[in-house]
Symmetry: C2
Subunit: 298 residues, 2 copies
Amino acid sequence: MSLVAVGSVGLDTVETPFGKVEEVIGGSAVYFSLAASLFTRIQIAANVGNDFPDRIWQLLAERGADLSGIKVIEDMPTFRWSGRYQGDMNEAETLRTELNVLALPPETPESYGGSPFVFLANMGADVQLATLQRLQGRYVFADTMNLWIETQRDLLLELMAKLHGLILNETEARMLTGETNLIKAGGALLDLGPRVVVIKKGEHGAFLFERSFHFALPAYPTAQVVDPTGAGDSFAGGFLGALADMGSLEPTALRRAMALGTVTASLTVEHFSTGGLEAADRKEVDRRFRELHEFVRL
Amino acid sequence: MSLVAVGSVGLDTVETPFGKVEEVIGGSAVYFSLAASLFTRIQIAANVGNDFPDRIWQLLAERGADLSGIKVIEDMPTFRWSGRYQGDMNEAETLRTELNVLALPPETPESYGGSPFVFLANMGADVQLATLQRLQGRYVFADTMNLWIETQRDLLLELMAKLHGLILNETEARMLTGETNLIKAGGALLDLGPRVVVIKKGEHGAFLFERSFHFALPAYPTAQVVDPTGAGDSFAGGFLGALADMGSLEPTALRRAMALGTVTASLTVEHFSTGGLEAADRKEVDRRFRELHEFVRL
């Protein structure tokens, strides 16, 4: 089944203990789509400036992606983000943000309306709600961040009641529910509407909460994390791409999708920017899936 | 097979977001032995003052423990520790320590010499090395802490070359190896001698490293962590108690022991002091084992 992704395209400047890169390819919709395109047909909607390299669109087209929702804003630059990771690299420190084309809401073509799976990447809950209205997706998943939890809590709660799934990190889960214990936070988030809640914990893996079962998975055991930028969106892309490919949200499919999202995220963190996702193929994904399966087999 | 534990008996004063308790039963040898006694015959060696309640010795005797290595120092008080946990409770803040009887090295009776499994709880590496000399254990496991990594690094490295297994937390693993990435740290610790390395990550579970395989397990999904004191020693007690019970260090046994250690630690953190371990039985352990198995089944 096909999958719509609405989010950002960006140029990132990132510093980690392993080096620094400037104005490299990034953005939630880009990481998500490159990840999802390993599993299913992806339809992307995002605004981009006239200064973004073509390479990624060519690669996504080769992987069967529908790019008709990529809108080039001719007289504006692409969104810029600059950040730094230190120590255990579990948290990014944002140094600078230039919204540029991100100030305009993304537009989704009519042809995207029939896609059963939808991912609303991290954007204001107001923009996510407006986007949701134009799409008829049966299985809508969304991400969010601390900024919207603080400034648009009511709209976010309105959105959550309409979502099938919410994907967020542990800090956001604690902030949104007021619960320190993540098992409690997961239950509290389910009470707010979504049928599926995924709490990402970076190097510590992820939890999935659903009414009928809970599931925990560690991160793929990579020995070299070079740059965590985009790991969360790559996880979401692998997770939803795999679900759309399987066309199911049964427990077995959700467990398998968690593992494929985990593996996809591991491809991202071993390289700066989208290098890992660009080089990857299903064979490498499947090899890592088997390794992860062995790593957690009780 | 039987299992010797050498460590501390203590009276703890602990404050967590869920309350405060004063001069309650604690100590590494106590948590470890209560946990291990759910699985196997345990032989305990520790110094205790004349002010420690008898209740625990009675319970351990009922569970078949050998207490001939418990030495009561008549004219000295028991070891005291006072600490506080805040926020996510992942790290204890030590407020006060009174060594008292802990200043004297523990003595192991001759009759403990034939036990194939040995656990040297957190003590100075000098004391651990001296204790090791008096025991003939084939499978000796040890714990350590930041203090000894800083002040007795050379002795600790000498000890590690003689150990079968090392059990430590993620902060200690990073400090001992200089590696931030825990997968790398696990490999580096294996290079220092032990055949088995377990890195405990608190609420995020634990890793096991062995030459032939790696294994990751999340914590048991408990919704109410009241007091993490003793969780690490309870994990070690469940882990080694289960291994001694199975009489094997094959991968299958190590995976199962990790799960039983995890379950045993969950019994501890849901109550102050040793309340959870005192009330527990194998039926509850087995119920939680099945739940954990389902929680991680990919």
